[in-house]
Amino acid sequence: MSYAYLFKYIIIGDTGVGKSCLLLQFTDKRFQPVHDLTIGVEFGARMITIDNKPIKLQIWDTAGQESFRSITRSYYRGAAGALLVYDITRRETFNHLASWLEDARQHANANMTVMLIGNKCDLSHRRAVSYEEGEQFAKENGLVFMEASAKTAQNVEEAFIKTAGTIYKKIQDGVFDVSNESYGIKVGYAVPNASGGGAGSSSQGGGCCS
């Protein structure tokens, strides 16, 4: 299927926070609590539409366990967007956010859009991190924030699409040189020649709109 742009996303955060469930909810619209734990990385993809343009999200769901980090870091390269996930019922997953962010800043490109997600908000009776704390952390670090639930699907769609919207806006604003794939954006093939005309053939001659 043709797309105007392809964005590479990574999902990061501690083990068990629900990264794989979020991905599955987004790509397959279902919640499967017995999904296998992730070793290394897994992939998912879905088409969305922004500004009437088909955009393909290629999503990298990484393993959260600490001892795999030296490997998972190598997956950050060239991601346009990241979902940084914690579990609102487990405080330590929130406490580790800073180190995840640090990792992302070191190993991903500087213009990567990061969305902070407090997952499992269906379990608010067991909440260990308040909404305000999440919001505060996001604010301090310049992230977009949402609480979501992979189980009920609440805000899952929104989280992925809002991130894509932010990236798309950055393209429109000329923040990226889309011909440079290290930004995690690929220009697709079949775009009705829209404003800026950035989307060419595989030659990707067109720069970005100004």
């Binding site: 068990g16 070793i39 290394g40 992939f43 600490e66 001892s67 060239g78 800043r105 190993h107």
Partner: protein
Amino acid sequence: MRGEAAADAGAGYPRSPEPHDLSDDSDYAAAAAASASIHAAIRSDMADIGSEETARVDVVYEKERVTIHPTQYGSSRISGKLRLYLQLGALFLSWEPNEGVDSFSTSSVTAEIEKYRNLYTIQALPVSDIRFIRRYNPTFGLEYIIIVLSSGLAFPPFYFYNGGTRELFATMKQHVFIIRSDDDPTLFLVNDFEDPLQKSLSSLELPGVATVANAMSRQNSFSFAGSVNEARHGDDAKHGGPSSIYEYGSKQKHKLNDPGRDLSLQVLEKFSLVTKFARDTTSSLFRENHSSGSHAYGRQKQEHVWDNRISDKYKDQQITQDDTSVLSDSTESDELLLVWGKKRGSPLTVDEWRAFLDPEGRIMDSKALRKKVFYGGVDHVLRKEVWKFLLGYHEYDSTQAEREYLAAMKREEYEAIKSQWKSISATQAKRFTKFRERKGLIDKDVVRTDRAVPFYEGDDNRNVVVLRDILLTYSFYNFDLGYCQGMSDFLAPILHVMEDESESFWCFASLMERLGGNFNRDQNGMHAQLLALSKLVELLDPPLHNYFRQNDCLNYFFCFRWVLIQFKREFSFDQIMLLWEVLWTQYLSEHFHLYLCVAILKRYRQRIIGEGMDFDTLLKFINELSGQINIDQAIQDAEALCTIAGDNGAACIPPGTPPSLPVETDGGLYLQEDDVL
């Protein structure tokens, strides 16, 4: 609150290394004196590596008795000389083994060790290729360092018998930029900033340092090899056809007279000790069809046809069992390998199994048994019995009575270990963070392991609880290693086969004796295997190796899952039981799984190279092979490769690499850190 803080620090999330001024380090003073004094011109043999004119070489650090422990062979070790030297403004590290092997080796193992000596030699490693160094100065025992390259690969530990790690770092610090991690005092990020302006700039913006380091050392011109053993090669290696193939790999960062320049070539020469026959076939095999890697559209199509042709041909060939005759037909390159492995046999049957046992239940001919299992696997009903031998829990020459006695003893022992955590009360657990964390992690993971397999299906499945109990018990049995993700993947099929908690535990424990290194915190076992894999590909498929090198894929992280859990996620549950018993026979090699990696990569090499896959694309491609790989074919290919590679293949694999039995050091088998879960 206390618990929380501990958990935070304890989980060991290393923040980026904060600047840590080394000048207050006592190391610094120690070395200022040491390094200044050694400025000696180095022997010319070191200087002429890959350069016409002899550029001036200044040795700034030199230490004797810096030693590697290939402890698979008892107490033998390879002692050598570690040097830092400056050439044309750049800093290089070298390590040369001394002639001969250190004391304590019996002559029979000496030859074995000789084989590995050159494997470890480092002739000219640009320090800019080093990502970080870990330095351990244990209170008891030897100080040692582990060097990790920017490609992600690591050298085995260097032990300093005469001390000197402090001077080493202090000397380095005078020439390159080093920062020490605040969180992890053993960790030193190394960076080579030749430009003093850049140096001062980057020390101002520290958070970026690691990234800069990456960018600066993209070319992975590292080498484990070096001094080519001329005597052994003879002419064969010198006019090795391969050299022409390597030319397109010459996009080098370094200047022409850079000593690091031609390392890859040397490595290749070194590994081209392959018999002439094998070398000729392999190089002609893999040369064809290799183009510049541009992605023309037509290529894919053509290649598709090619694939079909192979598989058709392959069907025919399978019937022909005569290996050698097929081999002599050298026109149909890859197909040689595809058909060369012996046809897969049928699983070991009950009757056949009985025939292997003497009246008291001893296995008369364990080699023949392993061979049988290697070629055909084991009938499912026999697995419960046979796996205990393959895994090393039962000795082949034990009698049935001895085994029954052992099982009873082991059952008691298991219960005793299990009671250690069973008896931890809620109040005690409250003050036992490590226990709570470990249990929490295991609890979370067992419900995410093979739940689609009927044996583990459904809510409140009893077997899931047993899985949990075994893993938690194991983490007490082997507290240093603890629990790591991936273990449950290994245990699930074992429990499914054994259907007995204690027996499963001991089988799993036996397996971990060999594969524990996969789960070691510093990932040493994984790095060793990935390094060995890269050496094997270099030996068995130089163009593919070159392709990976040019595309920054040499760390082989895309094979991480394959290696970590031995293909568990790539095959169905039934297939994995078969594959594992084949691997466990160690019939052709302890490291048959690495040949399997090579075999699969080779089968897809045309797509990989033809489509010009970069790291991301390759990783995704490899991931998506899950469920697509023909297991019999892969085993057959691997068998052929393993045979072709022979001793030279074995020499690519450093001793102690899992699943070889691990290297035992004074500090215990597993790296102990506060934050092991």
